[in-house]
């Protein structure tokens, strides 16, 4: 049998990987007046923008590959993240990107976008994305697997 083609028959586990993305954004909605934007977004509405070191935590779930003992190939995941997450968003101004042309680049919307992007990863099912905007704020989308 060729390496890596074994069916995944082991127990079901979850693997999480954290990536760092530094980017700027400005929270501003065209649907609001200048006063309303300031009232809703406060200092995040600063016209010149501000930035964060986002910690993006991607969780994959699945039965372990019996040959490798892994949920997925970490190298493949890192390569996917490099192309579709890091190179796309790191060092960028989120407001200038197509993804945020029609939606405000809040971390809620950023998390939803990253979750959507990782649904394209074929190595394993991405069940959750959690983004820490700062040490005090985090946002997550996906399954509440095994909880509660």
């Amino acid at each position: 049998m060729a390496v890596g083609v074994a069916t995944s028959t082991g127990p079901k586990a979850y693997l999480s990987r954290r990536y760092r993305v530094s980017a700027s954004h400005r929270l501003h909605s065209e649907a609001y007046s200048a006063e309303e934007n300031l009232a809703v977004y406060g200092k995040c509405n600063n016209p010149h923008g501000h930035g964060h070191n986002y910690a993006v935590e991607v969780t994959l779930g699945g039965r372990l590959n019996a040959e490798t003992g892994m949920v997925c190939d970490l190298g493949e995941l890192d390569e996917f993240a490099r192309i579709h997450l890091i190179e796309r968003f790191d060092g960028m101004n989120l407001n200038t990107l197509d993804e945020f042309r029609d939606v405000v680049p809040t971390t809620e919307n950023f998390t939803a976008e990253v979750y959507r992007i990782f649904q394209g990863f074929r190595g394993a099912l991405v069940v959750r994305v959690r983004i820490e905007e700062t040490g005090n704020n985090s946002f997550e989308i996906g399954d509440e697997f095994g909880r509660g």
């Binding site: 586990a13 979850y14 490798t68 949920v71």
Partner: protein, 139 residues
């Protein structure tokens, strides 16, 4: 129902090797992790238990007791050991490669049924700050 999490740390050596494969296949799939001399990590274990709060003690579990169980069942077996060579569940012939996922599963199995008054909910093992595995007992 309350979830309670206790942390423990252990430092261990390991390497990744599938005995059914050739050396070349192992090196191709596992890369640097296939170095048979081993390499190591400072692992962090987070064990989460679920239970009801005891009306007298106000505890879900006695944390002191949970700490002792983690020490006895896991840390004393894994800490400053070579997982492939010195820990039975990863020994040659088991086919159980000590990946972060398999370590989380092995720890779950070591703890299952050993924690009084609470249900084991999750075993989370950090290999590094940016990589961790969770096991909820799913088969």
């Amino acid at each position: 129902m309350i979830l309670l999490t206790r942390k423990a740390e252990f430092s261990s050596a390991h390497y990744y090797w599938n005995e059914a494969w050739t050396e070349a296949e192992n090196l191709r799939v596992f890369g640097r992790c296939a170095n048979k001399n081993g390499h190591g990590h400072n692992y962090t274990l987070e064990v989460t238990v679920a239970g009801e709060v005891d009306s007298v003690s106000g505890f879900v579990v006695d944390l002191k007791e949970l700490k002792e169980i983690l020490e006895r069942e896991v840390v004393s077996v894994y800490d400053h050991r070579h997982l492939n060579l010195e820990v039975p569940e990863f020994a040659a012939g088991t086919g159980n490669i000590p990946t972060t996922e398999n370590i989380a599963i092995a720890i779950w199995r070591r703890l299952e049924g050993k924690i009084p008054h609470a249900k084991l909910h999750r075993a989370r093992v950090y290999e590094m700050d940016d990589l961790f595995a969770d096991y909820y007992g799913e088969r």
